[in-house]
Symmetry: C2
Subunit: 221 residues, 2 copies
DNA sequence: CGGGATCCGTTACGATACTG
DNA sequence: CAGTATCGTAACGGATCCCG
């Protein structure tokens, strides 16, 4: 992996792990599924990854064609997923579904940013959205902006503010986790642990439908 | 992970990786999805994992409730998946789908046994089988037995011989890989790189249907 | 022979410091 | 901001040995 620790096995699973099985690598991809990001932004989301490790992992991901360096404006470098890198979406979503059932144990810490929320929500929405759905939702989770865009049932969630939204939804990260772990009932979450502000009347039904589907999908797995 | 290298992140993906993100762990689970296995059988399938590492990984998987020690008969210990461990099936299948597109590079080596084939085939069949399908297929891949059982569309593949099969299917591991990578056309694979022996007439249609669906699913992803 | 435990050299990781 | 350099520590990999 990092250097020469490939499994060298003639097996598709081993070949996948040779590319994304290193420590931190899947978490880096997780954050990039929420949209292009700068080096420092990634470092913050990974809470304490050493700079040299992040450098090495990014380099290997570029070499393997999963990500590429892009132009973030005024000379800034951003990393973003290639088409090949996008294909890890299903893997990451299944990991999230599997991991959501475990209680956080010991001294855990919230990530330095909420890109993980955008990724998980986006992957879930891709599966749960119905073809007739069309809306743009501006989410604020603990004050951080996430844009959820659904176009004819094609959902995309990006970490960042949403231009021209149909509605605004506020909640907290801890509340989202509680719902996904089954510790908080969906309707109680929607009634007491979040605020919904309607901008385009009529769109709020589609949004709450989608949220309910997502919560149901997570809980009954 | 191994000792205290948990990510300690409040994120479902990190919580999943704390359990199954260690080196070798997903490959161990891969082999166990093909049915219970003994220590030495696992060691062979993983081609060269050090005994101490396998011991440590198995111990952690038992502690985390993903696998358990069972009785393999005449005092033999076998490791097998718990219900929780079974839930990693989707993750492993998505890894296989992602990894199947890469050409093996450099000096790779075939795994010491073909449990990986049973796992990948089983996961694919679970998705591709239609509800009306019912058959038992005895597969021989490079002489190793894999049992594919489909009951009302519920597919299970186990590494081991199939009792009372409806048909017998022989092929080679390299041929299977070539098909899954798109280097060998499905119909050419079925005609020239495999043998089908019919035991219960009429069942061969269901089997080739399923195989075609699986190959199509892998290739157009 | 199966299922490990122990020891040891090598490699990767993690923290801090430093640089363009 | 975006990394590079250094270095102590922890994990890995290979071998050997042990016990039923």
């Amino acid at each position: 992996m990092a250097k020469n620790r490939s499994y060298k096995l003639l097996c598709p699973i081993a070949r996948a792990l040779d590319r994304i099985g290193d420590r931190w690598t899947l978490l880096i991809l997780r954050d990039l599924h929420a949209g292009p990001a700068r080096f420092t932004e990634l470092q913050r989301g990974l809470t304490g990854i050493a700079a040299n490790l992040l450098t090495e992992r990014l380099g290997k991901l570029v070499d393997d064609g999963l990500i590429e360096k892009g132009d973030g404006g005024h000379g800034a470098v951003v990393y973003e997923l290639t088409d090949l890198g996008q294909q890890t979406s299903e893997i990451i979503f299944e990991l999230a579904m599997f991991g959501a059932q475990f209680e956080p144990e010991g001294e855990v810490v919230a990530p330095g940013n909420l890109r993980t929320v955008a990724t998980t929500l986006g992957a879930a929405a891709k599966r749960a959205a119905k073809p007739e759905m069309n809306f743009r939702a501006a989410l604020k989770v603990d004050g951080e902006d996430i844009s959820l865009d659904v176009e004819n049932g094609q959902a995309t969630a990006i970490y960042g503010s949403c231009p021209d939204p149909d509605l605004l939804f506020r909640t907290g990260y801890q509340d989202l986790l509680a719902v996904s772990e089954g510790d908080l009932a969906p309707d109680q979450f929607l009634r007491e642990h979040s605020e919904l502000e309607i901008i385009t009347p009529g769109k709020e039904g589609e949004f709450t439908d989608l949220m309910s589907s997502i919560i149901g999908m997570i809980n009954d797995q």
